[in-house]
Symmetry: C2
Subunit: 250 residues, 2 copies
DNA sequence: AGAACCATTCGACGGAGCCGAACGTTTACT
DNA sequence: AGTAAACGTTCGGCTCCGTCGAATGGTTCT
């Protein structure tokens, strides 16, 4: 973790990030936005094209489906993903809401799979989308099953960023909640990440009790009252258990 | 398209490719497989980790979900993908078979979306998977709607690789078929890519008659006789038309 | 036809990447 | 437990390769 790095690699991926962000770009446009010399950007783009990760069409550069491919292969190797198989779909049908599978990666909470039920609200949720661990039900479910010092490290590095007025920003409050989550077996989040949304999430553990991910159901506060909340909590816990069993027999 | 390149970029992506291929890897393992000095690979991996595209856990390096994210964003911007919306699902339900959306990229035919019907055979098909254009129904549907000299260029660069005994390897035969495909509005492939599989595919064109992609249904030869073939051909053509209309109104 | 803009090529300079070797650390075997 | 082998990581000096200004060629305006 020393400062050792490689300028070219860093720059190449800054260009990729820029392309991913804005969909496509021309040489000079990118050069300006990234504050690099035009000829340099041109060189990088040529190099990227020759790798197959970037394509040109009429001087418009864009990322290729190679990213999809690499991403999908990687996802396929995530054992949780295999184990969760049709569970997500079942939950989506049963609850009608927005269902996701998330894992931890680089101190963040990442969506791995999305399944929208018939009544699902349109969230900005797609595979690969990231969010802070502390500011959402699945993230908290994951933190609850990590060693305390690991949690503290994450807080140190990432802080407890406020996403809405409900977001937990006090470490003590967070640790209290994590304890409760361990006791009751699932996590709740009431507008802590997105105002007006309630999320319920259960952790998926493997046989060594290591945390592998979390299953999450999200819906608007107006539709999810106390009773419904308990019902959904039961469903996600049941599914997490099924997944856990699948995980051990893969 | 000159030889101008960037060694660092090339090497960085060779490492990524290797990780994508084998799922994960350790420093020395990768160093040997890629025939690079250990310390060099170590440097690259550190650089890649700092970009967020690669992660380490217990000295095991692997690609991150960042690839999924970039891939999904890119796919979302593919207008065909938006336009095809629920069509794939409908076809999968109606035919029971394996349904895909494909586009051309870098002289190749790439799967963009997959929808498996209830009876679908388990093909090795995932978003991002690539195949030669000449050796499959969707590829031929796409070639049929490209300018002839563009097709010739592709043949020059890629050749007509033989994938099964049925694969078309003679340019003249190919050009004859492309003409027939234009006439009848859809393409057929009988075991040209995978022995024993029949695929039917219709091209999706935009209002400028530019080819944007192809919708494809695949199933085992045993199940798809003459009559069924016509039925499916009608379905994919109808869906391609719907998609085309959507495309113009997006 | 001229002007403005952009992509692409070229080449000389200098700093950044490179890798062998040394150092720690983990794993495997006795 | 002790030793050896294998591996990951750090270091630093040499050199090669990336860098970017300037020139070129092409395209799209007015």
């Amino acid at each position: 973790m020393t400062g050792t790095s490689n300028r070219s690699v860093e720059r190449a991926f800054r260009i990729v990030d820029e392309l991913a962000e804005n969909g496509s770009g021309r040489v000079s446009e990118l050069a300006e936005r990234l504050d690099m010399p035009v000829s340099t950007v041109h060189n990088y783009l040529q190099a990227l094209v020759s790798t197959g990760y970037v394509a040109v069409e009429d001087k418009e550069y864009s990322t290729t489906t190679r990213f999809l491919e690499v991403g999908h292969r990687q996802r396929h190797r995530l054992e949780v993903f295999k184990a969760v198989s049709d569970e997500l779909q079942d939950i989506a049908a049963e609850t009608g809401e927005h269902v996701t599978l998330l894992v931890e990666e680089n101190d963040q909470c990442v969506i791995v799979a999305v399944q929208e039920g018939p009544d699902a609200v349109n969230l900005f949720a797609y595979p690969g989308a990231r969010m802070p661990l502390h500011a959402a039900a699945p993230g908290k479910a994951i933190l609850a099953h990590m060693p305390d010092d690991r949690v503290r490290e994450i807080i140190d590095r990432q802080g407890l960023v406020e996403m809405t007025k409900q977001t937990i920003t006090d470490p003590d409050v967070l640790f209290d909640q994590l304890e409760r989550i361990r006791e009751q077996g699932y996590a709740v989040d009431e507008g802590e990440r997105i105002a007006g949304m309630v999320c319920l999430s259960a952790p998926v553990l493997d046989k060594g009790d290591r945390i592998r991910g979390a299953i999450c159901v999200c819906g608007p506060q107006s539709r999810i009252d106390e009773a419904r909340r308990e019902e959904i909590a039961d469903i996600v816990q049941r599914s997490a258990n099924v997944t856990q069993v699948n995980l051990d027999y893969v």
